[in-house]
Symmetry: C2
């Protein structure tokens, strides 16, 4: 069995969501069933990049995680693209046996059988600005696949007021899922330096929207990695 | 019974530590047994400000929390100064009966009987750069006061390499406490705009220190409120 891997990098810190600040090795798989208008990882999504994706066995992926982390257990984030396309169960199994923890970031469009083995599953239903549409039956299937032992949280990116309305409606449908909101980032070119004042303003806007609505449930968080490293890859 | 209160403000988001991003009303009490060299809340610490502190009953404090949050339950952060100096039990009791959650931020120098009623206790032992010295017997007493039902986490501010060594040693003494590191901020004048590039560089430095040491236990987080609002008060 082989996996298509876009990149494996770290340790760095997780920049967003429930594990924000956590030392993490990222495994970014190649291939996605979505193509969001503002995708910040097109190199893992657009099949034009597929010749840059390495074909690796699960053992080769695991060996690289061990190498990068120098054999010291930490959190591994499976991201993409959509990692749910591929069978990452053997990587998770080898890692957990060695004390590593596994998180996965996915839009919730494809339920992988291995979601139930994860420590943390982050489901990110894509808001209207993405140009994609959530199929809620599949999202439900993802929740079922996670089962009772995996921590499941929801993360929603908010670019505008329509997205904010989507976040509110989605949150109402899933009252029991911990919820994380983050402002969208349209400046995704790795070569263009990020304007931190603009990034801070976007966060402030989302905080104000949330508090003005007297909506005290979600946590509102930035993308720390963008604040530290801009859109540079591999950090 | 009366409480000395420096300010009550919010809802805003918690800017740091385990509850980062969480909509929160802050109750900042007046008075402190420490005086850290880089204190960012001298208006709640220095007794020169004591005439600005309001004397309020617990009911008056609770009424203000309810007013600010418009009766909608959220997280209340008890901070200071050192909130452990005063008896906040009646406020916590009224709030929890109405579904509010309570967190407290303290250096861990004074064990308050009400720590065990909190949802979350954040203990921040002060590193060498503060000019203060931790009395570990008191810190232990704080852990005991928290008891088995309160989530206890440790947060350490790191200004320099000595502070980093302190964080590592302290972490080793308390292997079971979740640990949050944050870079120090010497620009605490409310009138001076914060330079976000400098703030991002401080965070990057601390991330690099932590990862270079192959130390994968702590989460490394910035002060979000400083990134959004600078050192402005009441946000």
């Amino acid at each position: 069995m082989s996996l298509r891997i876009c990149e494996i990098f770290g340790p760095t810190i997780q920049g967003e969501g429930v594990l924000i600040g956590e030392p993490t090795v990222f495994v970014r798989t190649g291939g996605c069933d979505y193509r969001c208008s503002w995708c910040d990882s097109l190199h893992a999504v657009d099949s034009a990049y597929r010749h840059d994706w390495e074909v690796m066995t699960p053992t080769e992926v695991w060996d690289e995680i061990v190498h990068l982390s120098d054999h010291r257990p930490l959190t591994v984030s499976l991201s993409g693209g959509n990692p749910a396309i591929q069978n990452l169960a053997p990587v998770i199994e080898m890692g957990q046996a060695a004390g590593y923890r596994f998180a996965c970031e996915t839009q919730g469009s494809i339920p992988a059988a291995w979601f139930g083995r994860l420590d943390t599953l982050v489901l990110s239903p894509k808001p209207p600005s993405s140009g994609e549409r959530v199929v809620w039956e599949r999202f439900e299937d993802c929740l079922k696949a996670a089962g009772p032992h995996t921590q499941v949280v929801m993360k929603i990116v908010v670019f505008d007021e329509d997205d904010f309305a989507f976040a509110r409606a989605t949150a109402a449908s899933y009252p029991d899922l911990p919820l994380y909101l983050q402002p969208g980032n349209r400046e995704v070119d790795p070569a263009t330096p990020v304007n931190l004042d603009v990034a801070a303003k976007r966060l402030e806007w989302l905080v104000q929207q949330t508090l003005a609505a007297k909506w005290f449930r979600p946590r509102v968080l930035p993308q720390l990695h963008v604040m530290i490293w801009g859109n540079k890859r591999g950090v």
